[in-house]
Subunit: 154 residues, 2 copies
């Protein structure tokens, strides 16, 4: 088992604001992908434990089941559909305030092997975390299909 | 043992050009840090196996021993001085051409524990790989102290 780990600090924010960007379709659309829909939530609605969020990108997508939402502290998703390497992996977000920064600790855990696609996803996650940081700090992120390209296809 | 893995594709380049950016002080200054010096090489000179490169940043730095240089294919460094968590770890670069892209496979291996600093370094490496990509593609990177900030201090 190998993991993708990242950390960013969101300036002049709060754990509440970052939590909102991770648990509402409106927030997720702002930093990850335009193609975000919740099967049981509207575009501006909040996600909830047990619900499945569908994230779609030009090359494909992922369905994530929300497995934990602890307000302003932790969000966890389990991948229930998508690329073979992703299915069964978990994505975990932990939030805390440290001075002027909201610290976001990110883990994409449970990869079976450190395949080339995992290297790609690690770098790509970093660019999406920077998009999340930018969204919360400035109101503007870089979600797909306006995302930062690191190779091709991505 | 846990690793940081990344991958970028450098467009309209060649493994030779990326290799040069990893094995000359002039190249390293262009994407990683202004504070790059080789104990036995000049600013425009090439690095060589067994030599130590000193990388300095506003918050500190690393001394790396070059352990492998296979032209246009692979570069490996071992950290011989720097933060405690880094000493003894290895940084490995593999290059290959795939269509219009030079694929850069990156590994920072040998971390003892997945500490918070490792999460930070993973994201920071991604931004420096994007700086390397930009340097080779456009002639302009974002080396320290003009680097992309992801938190504080970094």
């Amino acid at each position: 088992m190998v993991d993708i780990l990242h950390r960013v600090g969101v300036e002049n924010s709060s754990p509440e604001k970052v939590y909102d960007a991770l648990t509402t379709v409106e927030g997720l659309v702002g930093w990850w992908t335009d193609g975000t829909t919740g099967r049981s939530v509207g575009r501006s609605g909040s996600t909830g434990v047990g619900e499945v969020i569908e994230f779609r990108f030009p090359p494909g997508g992922f369905d994530m089941e929300v497995v934990e939402q602890t307000p302003s502290k932790r969000v966890a998703w389990k991948v229930v559909d998508g690329p073979e390497e992703w299915v069964g992996t978990t994505i975990d977000w932990e939030l805390r305030q440290d001075g002027d920064y909201t610290i976001v600790m990110f883990k994409h855990q449970g990869w079976k092997e450190p395949v080339e696609f995992m290297h790609h996803c690690s770098t790509k996650w970093a660019t999406y975390l920077m998009s999340l940081k930018s969204l919360v700090e400035t109101g503007s992120g870089a979600p797909a299909p306006r995302d930062v390209h690191i190779a091709f296809p991505d």
